[in-house]
């Protein structure tokens, strides 16, 4: 046994006899394969089907809203709003999601009643996240710089040209429940 470990260690510590080019090549292709697989896996966890596996009732709610069905047929899927698009932010969010896997294992919201009870907490967390990053996920599609106030309704112009333009408010401050049903709104600012 000792002999075997010694042999193994020697193998590791002595330089390989394979050519440096071959080793680099192996590392290179290995790297590409790993990176590709990693990103493919990441994309797989960003699809609507993946989200629906656990969040089916909430995914169904979206169908009645403008972000699912509308005149021009452009639509947003879960990850467009709930997962940041820049790579580093995305990784941070995905790591945070590992905590949600624990909640899944514990069955924190595995019945409709439990989900209703917790809905306020969950919604608040998402609003807070959007507030902190200045509604980045809204702005991935809705760019303030290209808003044409002459095309907007009077009510929209009033809010967008003042509170939003000055940065005093961010999208999610007013646009809550645009893709889901709302939780109990008692005590929520502006309601």
């Amino acid at each position: 046994m000792k002999q075997l470990i010694k042999l193994f260690w020697k193998r590791l510590s002595s330089p390989s006899r394979a050519a440096a080019g071959l080793l680099l090549g192996l590392g290179f292709t290995g790297g590409i394969l790993f990176w590709g697989a990693f990103n493919t896996g990441m994309e797989a966890t960003n699809t609507e089907a993946f989200c629906s596996a656990c969040h089916a009732p909430i995914v169904a709610e979206v169908r009645e809203t403008i972000h699912y069905s509308n005149r021009s047929g452009v639509r947003a899927i879960c990850s467009d709003c709930h997962v940041p698009h820049p790579w580093t932010d995305k990784i941070v969010r995905k790591v945070q999601a590992s905590k949600e896997l624990v909640a899944y294992a514990m069955g924190t919201i595995n019945t409709t009643e439990k989900f209703r009870q917790r809905r306020g907490y969950l919604a608040n967390r998402e609003w807070q996240r959007m507030k902190e990053n200045d509604s980045q996920e809204c702005r991935n599609c809705h760019n303030f710089d290209y808003m044409d106030f002459s095309e907007q309704g009077q009510r929209s112009v009033v809010q967008h040209s003042t509170a939003l333009a000055s940065g005093e408010k961010t999208c999610v401050d007013c646009h809550k429940g645009i893709s889901h049903k709302l939780p109990d709104m008692h005590g929520v600012e502006g309601w």
Binding site: E64, G177, K181, L182, P183, M185, G190, W191
Partner: protein, 159 residues
């Protein structure tokens, strides 16, 4: 024997065809056998046993100035689109602008103080449950042909 069968078959076919004719007549308004008695209703001349194709949705103006009342105590009409506005036990989107608390900031019309009273006239601290469902009285408008002609005129004081 063969002749008899042929005759029987023929009469059968004729009887069947005749029966079908009658059936067609029953559903044909011009033949006088219509199930709606030739009466046009809001559904048009549609037969009772036929489901009329639904009309297209009416376009509701996105946003405009408040409508002027047509009669005293008329619930004000909604001068904007309300698609997707939630009114449920959890949230009332209308009140997020029109409540006493939010109307000033939102620049919206404040709901009247009558919404805070019970049926017996007792004043409550918040909107009365019987006045919570805004769309029971307040409705959006769209520019369409009137379904039933009428010559309603505003009273003098509102003209």
């Amino acid at each position: 024997m063969r002749k008899l069968i042929t005759i029987l078959l023929l009469t059968g076919v004729i009887a069947l065809a005749h029966g079908q004719d009658n059936g067609d007549q029953a559903g044909d308004p011009e033949a006088g056998g219509s199930s709606n008695g030739g009466q046009a209703s809001l559904r048009g001349l549609t037969q009772l046993d036929v489901t009329k194709k639904a009309d297209a949705f009416k376009r509701i103006p996105k946003d405009r100035s408040p409508y002027v009342s047509d009669y005293v105590y008329q619930p004000p009409l909604i001068p904007h689109r309300i698609r997707g506005y939630e009114i449920s036990t959890n949230a009332n989107k209308c009140l997020s602008c029109h409540s006493f608390k939010n109307a000033r900031d939102a620049g919206a019309t404040k709901i009247s103080v009558t919404h805070y009273g019970t049926r017996e006239g007792q004043v409550l601290s918040d909107v009365s449950p019987r006045r919570y469902f805004c769309l029971q009285c307040h409705v959006t408008q769209s520019d369409t042909a009137v379904l039933v002609e009428n010559d309603f005129k505003r009273v003098d004081s509102l003209r």
